[in-house]
Symmetry: C2
DNA sequence: CTGAAAGCGCTTACAG
DNA sequence: CTGAAAGCGCTTACAG
């Protein structure tokens, strides 16, 4: 599986009858090469199928012009939308993006990040809360690193862009209260810090209204207790609950009102469509890239907003 | 945003008091380096945070040990499951994977493939039917290339792994016929070859049973005609139809039976759960990697299977 | 067991 | 406007 020998700069030089330095200059549009010469060189290069070797170029440049994006998992639309926003900005700035992912597993994530580090990328965007703190720290020592998530451990040298989970959760619960619900529970999707913050904000609001809180970890427990409404820590959990509740013969939102979090595609695919809290994903991706390109360390919090649909 | 100067092999050599060649040998576990020396070198390397430069290594090796995976779009679970299977095999073989995607747009896909080509990757797996034939051809000239999809144009030098869409479609339609449906329509999700093949197989089966065929392009047209059952060209289209039908007050599967294709996560998230045709994604990813590593050009067709759930 | 030298494909001063 | 030389970080023969 050896790569077919691609033509190099010296092949072009030979074919065009010039020195290889001149080819290099012509290809990079360096002025100081006559119009005619440049055109001839470019033509020859094209003819023999020359394609500059990114690795060699990076080696001398000391930078790769490539950003590494590490995802918690592929196939999570909340994450992948963020990736697209990152890429938009990167491409505008003439940088490439390589994507990797770790299947929600800290060990795999660490491994993938290390592989990216070996590539000597110019920056890292981590769209996951599960990368070990020491790995983040090591990555940030090598190149600007920003996390788009809210991990338990966030070393001082790494930047962060996250949404205000407490504010989002409050909007969700207050919406439910405004609709007259009193028996409102919380469905936790995981033990992540994000879930915890959302749960605590939920409890605070309930407390403030003199109402009792209930946190469940799976749809079955929810159905066993039959609250009048549930705030789920993300859309996926909300949709699972929606399904289980439907299976149990409940009608949403009358028998059970449900609010999710993230506003993924899923939310408008199911019936009733999900009322959910939307994170400004495009903005988050954009901010992350801005921080990366600035080279400094920043912590940014953006505001989520409630999207009311049929489920609550 | 210049990368902080990472320690190189010569830094290690200096710190350990040996030549840089020796460091190189020690690091690659080349025998011919005394146990004691190797350990000392490795220790020093670890101490000063040495990390080998993938680019430099590739430059001299003439290969990158990296496979490029190009996706039609991120966030399509059918695609991303395939990617995971590819990665499993790649990691087993000591190769890395870089992922890129093109948002379903041929121009963007072509651009991304070109960027990957500049990285001099050792092979390409294209999980998309929308990459222009000439781009595939150029990629395959450079390194082994296999498409996991069924594009209209497939150059002779590129390999392919795909499922038997006609067989899958036949299973779907025959299932519907077995359930007693006669007025069965087809909901097309796009103008891709895959959709066309599925549509034609559907028509053939209907023909064979002396029944009329109807192809629609959106849920609204389906509902205007009220067939008794619909075979949708993929899960997403099926779920959209499910939603629209529910909005129109229909009960599935009694008022309308629906069958999808792909068996994505979506299929078991909605209610009723979707009856759908499953592609052996793990096998497809594995086969693609095997072909890549063998270096030859092959065309492989795998068998899909019907998964019966609640929607039909 | 260990070191000096050449070279991977490119760019960057430095002379002409 | 153009060429010869050095060097990016590494590996690979080739001598000792």
């Amino acid at each position: 599986m050896r790569v077919k020998n691609s033509p190099t700069i010296v092949d072009v030089a030979r074919a065009a009858g010039v020195s290889k330095s001149l080819v290099s200059l012509a290809i990079r549009n360096d002025r100081g090469v006559s119009e005619a010469t440049r055109n001839r060189i470019l033509e020859v290069a094209d003819e023999i199928g020359y394609r500059s070797n990114h690795w060699a170029r990076s080696l001398v440049a000391g930078r790769t012009n490539l950003i590494g994006v590490l995802l918690n998992e592929l196939g999570n639309p909340h994450n992948t939308d963020i990736v697209e926003a990152i890429e938009d900005v990167a491409v505008e700035d003439g940088m490439g993006v390589v994507v990797s992912h770790g299947r929600r597993d800290p060990g795999t994530l660490a491994e993938r990040l290390q592989a990216m580090r070996r590539l000597g990328l110019d920056g890292f965007v981590i769209v996951s809360a599960h990368v070990p703190g020491k790995e983040l720290e090591a990555a940030a020592r090598q190149a600007p690193t920003v996390v788009i998530a809210n991990p338990y451990e966030l070393p001082d040298n790494v930047s962060q862009v996250r949404n205000d989970d407490a504010a989002g959760a409050r909007q969700a619960v207050e919406h439910l209260l405004a609709r007259g619900h009193k028996g409102i529970g919380f469905l936790a999707a995981s033990e992540s810090r994000t879930t915890r913050v959302r749960a605590e904000a939920y409890e605070d609001v309930m407390d403030a209204h003199g109402l009792a809180s209930h946190v469940w970890w799976n749809p079955a427990s929810v159905l066993a207790e039959r609250p009048s409404a549930v705030f789920a820590s993300n859309d996926r959990a909300a949709v699972r609950l929606l399904g289980s509740a439907a299976d149990a013969g409940l009608r949403m939102p009358d028998d059970l009102a449900i609010v999710g979090y993230d506003d993924t595609e899923l939310a408008s695919l199911v019936r009733p469509k999900l009322t959910t809290v939307a994170q400004p994903r495009a903005e988050m991706g954009r901010r992350a890239m801005e921080i990366l390109l600035s080279g400094g360390v920043e912590r940014v919090v953006v505001e989520p907003s409630l999207v009311v649909r049929g489920s609550a």
